[in-house]
Symmetry: D3
Subunit: 64 residues, 6 copies
């Protein structure tokens, strides 16, 4: 039943995502309980032009 | 004022989405009250490569 | 696999919530496909002091 | 530490997004406290075919 | 139609929230367009025991 | 910069949450890259009366 939403910069490979969801699921079950079958994970790839910290888009920071 | 967010696999047709939002709105008002005008719905199409259960991406399951 | 998040004002009864989730699930399956077992719904009760439209908290509107 | 998520119709320019995140950050710090460095903002561009109010997709309203 | 979700530490006063939503709404309209009436904001008060950065709950950091 | 949101049933202990956020952070960095400092996690405790699958609230299932 746990739902895990991960927002991260776009650009991870399929292999990284495969490892990420497998290990996040293992980690959840090991530390918080429940069964792997109950864990749902949704990944969101966010462009640097849609993410800001300190009032500046990351697309502008990387130009810096 | 209710906000409904629906995350689902990409691939629904425009017609399915049209029916879905009309009927979700009707359902909300009939069971929980309020007016149709106040109901906002945002649909998110999620790729199978960004959704996992039981530690496995759905893009990998469908290869199985 | 669909995940439905509903944000609404606090105050619905257990009976209203029971009807809401049953009928939202039926509606999703009927219009967008999939199985009832795959539909997860999370309800969030939001206080009027934490919800605003037009720049005004609903807790202040109702005082109006 | 505040996280601000903004869902809005797709179509804003890079310049509008740059102004939006800078000023939302300033606004948060001025009214609620904290430091600009701690404020994270994620923008989500939503297509009119994925957003509904009053049971109707905005892509259908604009055809009206 | 824009929806703004703000997650922040619990503890802001009603007055701070009132100012925050009024000014966030003004800021959105001034920089991204639209009308104040269309802007919905939901505030979420998060306890320090439910928020972490760098792998540490803020409730533990403040014990430091 | 990654933001991880975890929705789970209420009832985890402080110790479980402490382990969960530490290990989720490690897992993210090890599989997807980035630095631990950039990882933010928000936990949401959801009551069984606000979570449903297959059209039934978990508060009703556990009565079954």
């Amino acid at each position: 039943m746990p739902m895990i939403h991960v927002e991260m910069f776009a650009g991870r490979t399929e292999e990284q995502k495969r490892d990420l969801v497998r290990e996040l699921t293992d980690t959840f079950v090991r530390t918080a309980g429940g069964t792997p079958e109950s864990v749902q994970i949704v990944l969101t790839d966010v462009d640097k032009g849609n993410w800001a910290s300190a009032g500046t888009l990351f697309s502008d920071k990387s130009k810096g």
